[in-house]
Each structure stands twice: as structure tokens, then as C-alpha cells.
């Protein structure tokens, strides 16, 4: 027998054969190699789903690392976070990345969602992908809300008290919901226990299931093509192979994002401007609340809109109507693929686009007003 040199390529191939013999992955690889990504003016929007996924992976990794030292509880939550950022080497970095990545994940998810909305990629046959995506965003927001309390500092304590208090304003179920969320009448150590469980067990579980479906749908159906192509208006259709071209481009973007994340985390470990999470003082339930209690930026529009509601509208509490209208809006938003079916048959789905723009303008103006008005 001739001595075979141990080349990386040969080793790789050997390994592949070994696995293929057992799991028959050749068909899967074959399938993947035919996957293509449409190439057109709006191709850039395809990257934002991947970006969201990337930030989610960063969240999982840094979250697990934080779990090594974090200890939930009213008399240990704050102390352990302080320990992480002051004594554990690179602890400050892990926490900063976790916080930055959380915000960027929500941002990327919003961009991803609106790009899908305005390119109408949710249309038949991708209704389920859209619905699962909207649900994933909802879970992402819940991740943010539950994670915010865990350091048990002044900022998080009062924001959580206000946030859960709003849920308490709901009719019939409000009191129940609030008590269940808080684990009692007020935000206490019991609340941390619940939020911690939600943040590291329940939400990740649900998220993983939904995300698997979301990704499975995409793999099964391929990337959505522009609406114009379907109408036959455009010229020749071009595609990238998914592997390796699109994947390499995606890798490139992920690398750049990771670098941005690192720069943000090192230069602004406590965040900056309205995305700000200094540890500050430990939560003191008896201390007067800080003069300005603000929710995180992605809740700002809802918070501000509720503040604008009059005290009473036709003898119903204004806040209640606000919550009702926004819940209805959210539901409509999720059901857009089913409602827009008719509208999609015309040349341009004007009605749906108008709805989208109203939502975007509403969110942007309310957010800006929320930060300008004290």
C-alpha cells in the first residue's frame, strides 16, 4: 500500500464519506447546492434575516456565558452583575456585547420585517413564514422586557414596575396577568425568579421551535422573488447560487457586524444615548422613582401612544382603548398575508402599502415624540 499523505482535503472527504454512509446526507447536500437567491435591486434586504439570526446566535452564546456567573434573586442579581463587570475578566465585554446585540437584533428584526412587508414577500405561499416571523419578533420583545429586569438596578426596577403595571390596566384579565407576571402584588425578588425563568428557559424553548419552523419554511420554499417578476414586467431573471456565493457574502456581513459589535461594546460598554444600560444603584423599592422612567426604545412608541390617550373615551378608559387598538393593529399586521390576497391581484398593492406606511410613520413619530417630550 502506498503511504497516503494526510492532506486536509482528503481528511475532509473521508469524514464526509463516513457520515454520508450512515446518514445519507448526499441528497441533502445536492438539494442545498441547487438553492438560489434572486439577484435584483432589492437583494440587499435578503441579508437582514441572516443578520437577525446572527445577533440571535450571539445572544445565545453570550447569554450562556453570563449564566456562568449570574445569580437571580433580589439580594444576588445586582451583586452578581456587578461582580461580572468588575471582577470577572472580560465580563464587562460579555455583558456589553449581550446588551448591544440584543438591541441590534431587535433593530435588524424590524428592518427584516418591514422589508418583507414592503416587498410583499409574505404572499402566497409564504403566509406561515410571515406569521412565524411576527411571533418570533413578539418573543424577541419579550426577551428584551424580561432580560431588562435581571440586573435588578434602579433603572430596570422602575421600568418593569411601570411595564407590568400597564398590563394590569387590561380589563378582566389585567389583575391576573399582572400578578402572574410579578409573582405577587409588586415587583419583588419573586419577579426576578419568574423573569429569569422566562428569559433563559421558556422563551429560548419557544423561540427555538418557532425559529426552526421559520428557517425550515425558507429552506423548503426558497427565497421570495420580487412581485414584478411574478407579473412578468421585468426583463431576464438572475440568480446567485446560495452556496457558496450568497453564504460567503453573508459571512462577510456577519464579520463586519461582529466587528461593529466589538467596537460598540468596547467604546460604549454602558451603551449610549437612548440605548443605555449603566448598572448604577441597586434597586430600592422604597426609593422615589427616578424623574424620567423610559421603556426601552422598541417599546417607546406604544408607551407614548398610551400616554397620549385621553383619560376617558365614551366612558371607557382611554388607556384601555389604546391597548385595544394596538392589539388589533398587531393582529391585523400578523394576518396581513390573508387580508392582502385581493389587493395583491392588482398592478400595485396600494392599500397594503398605505397601511404599512401609516404603521411606519406612526411608530417613528411616536418614538421621536416620546424622547423629545419629558
Amino acid at each position: 500500500m502506498i503511504e497516503q499523505k494526510l492532506e486536509p482535503k482528503r481528511v475532509g472527504k473521508g469524514l464526509y464519506t463516513w457520515v454520508d454512509e450512515r446518514l445519507k446526507i448526499a441528497t441533502l447536500v445536492e438539494y442545498m447546492s441547487h438553492k438560489v437567491v434572486p439577484k435584483h435591486r432589492g437583494s440587499i434586504w435578503y441579508y437582514f434575516g441572516g443578520a437577525t439570526l446572527f445577533f440571535f446566535v450571539v445572544q445565545v452564546v453570550t447569554g450562556i456565558l453570563l449564566l456562568l456567573y449570574y445569580r437571580p434573586g433580589a439580594d444576588s442579581g445586582y451583586e452578581s452583575v456587578k461582580f461580572i463587570i468588575s471582577e470577572v475578566s472580560f465580563g464587562w465585554l460579555i455583558r456589553a456585547i449581550h446588551s448591544w446585540s440584543a438591541n441590534l437584533m431587535i433593530l435588524a428584526a424590524f428592518i427584516h420585517m418591514f422589508s418583507v412587508f414592503f416587498t410583499h414577500a409574505y404572499r402566497n405561499p409564504r403566509e406561515m413564514t410571515w406569521v412565524s416571523g411576527v411571533l418570533l419578533l413578539g418573543l424577541g420583545l419579550m426577551f428584551g422586557f424580561s432580560g431588562y429586569l435581571l440586573p435588578w438596578n434602579e433603572l430596570s426596577f422602575f421600568a418593569t414596575r411601570v411595564g407590568t403595571g400597564m398590563a394590569g390596566a387590561l380589563p378582566f384579565v389585567g389583575k391576573f396577568l399582572m400578578t402572574v407576571m410579578r409573582g405577587g402584588d409588586d415587583v419583588t425578588g419573586a419577579t426576578i425568579g419568574r423573569f429569569f425563568g422566562l428569559h433563559v428557559a421558556i422563551l429560548p424553548g419557544l423561540f427555538a421551535v418557532l425559529l426552526s419552523f421559520h428557517l425550515f419554511f425558507i429552506q423548503r420554499q426558497g427565497m421570495s422573488e420580487p412581485l414584478e417578476w411574478e407579473k412578468g414586467a421585468a426583463g431576464p431573471r438572475k440568480y446567485y447560487p446560495f452556496f457558496p456565493n450568497f453564504l460567503m457574502r453573508e459571512l462577510l456581513i456577519w464579520l463586519i457586524m461582529l466587528n461593529i459589535l466589538a467596537v460598540l461594546a468596547v467604546v460604549f460598554p454602558d451603551g449610549i444615548g437612548v440605548v443605555h444600560w449603566p448598572l448604577g444603584q441597586k434597586a430600592d423599592p422604597f426609593a422615589p422613582p427616578p424623574p424620567v422612567i423610559r421603556p426601552e426604545w422598541y417599546f417607546m412608541f406604544a408607551f407614548q401612544a398610551l400616554k397620549f390617550m385621553p383619560a376617558h373615551l365614551l366612558s371607557v378608559e382611554g388607556e384601555l382603548i389604546g391597548i385595544g387598538v394596538m392589539s388589533l393593529g398587531g393582529l391585523l399586521w400578523m394576518l396581513v398575508p390573508f387580508l392582502a390576497r385581493k389587493n395583491m391581484e392588482g398592478q400595485k398593492p396600494i392599500l397594503i402599502n398605505a397601511f404599512g406606511w401609516v404603521v411606519v410613520i406612526f411608530i417613528i413619530t411616536m418614538t421621536i415624540i416620546g424622547y423629545i417630550l419629558k
Partner: protein, 152 residues
């Protein structure tokens, strides 16, 4: 021409391979460093193991020692009836560190002659409030003293 292209591709592949390895290194370095627990062990929560043993306190001429308790100071005292008691060591008047006066049987603040009894009650001088008492647990076999938040 073909050869040059081949060379360039080889170099590019080498660069990417090396880059990936270096990149992984720069990511893994902080992660591995992070996973190694710091010397101080764990976050001080609401209890602390004193850096000296029961015997040290008993042999200490002054019958008391000051210790660090989170972000504040505590005082542990061997009382005349041979009990171990732990209290906050921060005088409630102007935050000086108090001491135990064996001769007076009192906790005493040198700054303005504030006096507390061994329960921490302010009994004389300017202190406006009592000292906070902590719970003391003693491991009989090892002689370790553990001080915890909460009434003694």
C-alpha cells in the same frame, strides 16, 4: 497567466484560512479568560466568610476585629460572656469606623465619643441610630466564622 492566477488563489485561500484561525483566536481568548473564575471566587451576596478563624479572635488582645462586608465594614466582637457578635462597623453619626472597648464593654466611636451597647443600640453621644446587627454562624470543627445579613 494560469499559474499566476493559481498562485493568487492559493495565497487568498491561505489568507482566509489564517484569518479564520486568528479570528477564532481573538474571539476565544476573551471567552476562555471569562470562563476562568476570578480569584475572589464568587459574587459576595449577603454573607461572607471572615478571613480569620474563631481562634484568632479569641487570641486577639482587643477581642474584636473589623472585616469587609460587601461594600461596607463590619465588626465582630468576642463579648465578655464569650459570645461572638457581628454588627455594622460604620458609625451612624459621620461614618467613622467604630471599635470595641473591652474596658467599657461598649462599642465606641473615636470620632465624637459615640457609644453603642453590644446589641448595637446607640446609648450615648451623637449617633442618631443603632448599628445594624448581623447573623453569625460558626463552624465548630473548622472555626470558620460566617457573617450573614439579618438579625443575629
Amino acid at each position: 497567466m494560469d499559474n499566476a492566477n493559481q498562485d493568487r488563489r492559493g495565497f487568498l485561500n491561505w489568507l482566509i484560512g489564517g484569518g479564520v484561525i486568528a479570528f477564532l483566536g481573538s474571539v476565544l481568548y476573551p471567552v476562555v479568560k471569562y470562563m476562568v473564575p476570578p480569584a475572589s471566587g464568587e459574587a459576595n451576596v449577603s454573607q461572607v466568610k471572615l478571613p480569620f478563624k474563631l481562634k484568632d479572635l479569641q487570641e486577639d488582645e482587643k477581642h474584636f476585629r473589623i472585616f469587609k462586608f460587601g461594600r461596607t465594614l463590619g465588626i465582630v466582637i468576642l463579648t465578655p460572656d464569650n459570645q461572638i457578635r457581628a454588627l455594622s462597623a460604620v458609625c451612624t453619626h459621620l461614618d467613622c469606623t467604630v471599635q470595641y472597648r473591652k474596658d467599657l464593654g461598649l462599642i465606641w466611636c473615636a470620632c465624637h465619643n459615640g457609644k453603642y451597647d453590644l446589641e448595637g443600640r446607640n446609648i450615648s453621644g451623637p449617633p442618631p441610630r443603632p448599628l445594624k446587627q448581623y447573623a453569625v454562624h460558626i463552624n465548630k470543627t473548622t472555626g470558620e466564622i460566617i457573617v450573614a445579613e439579618g438579625q443575629g
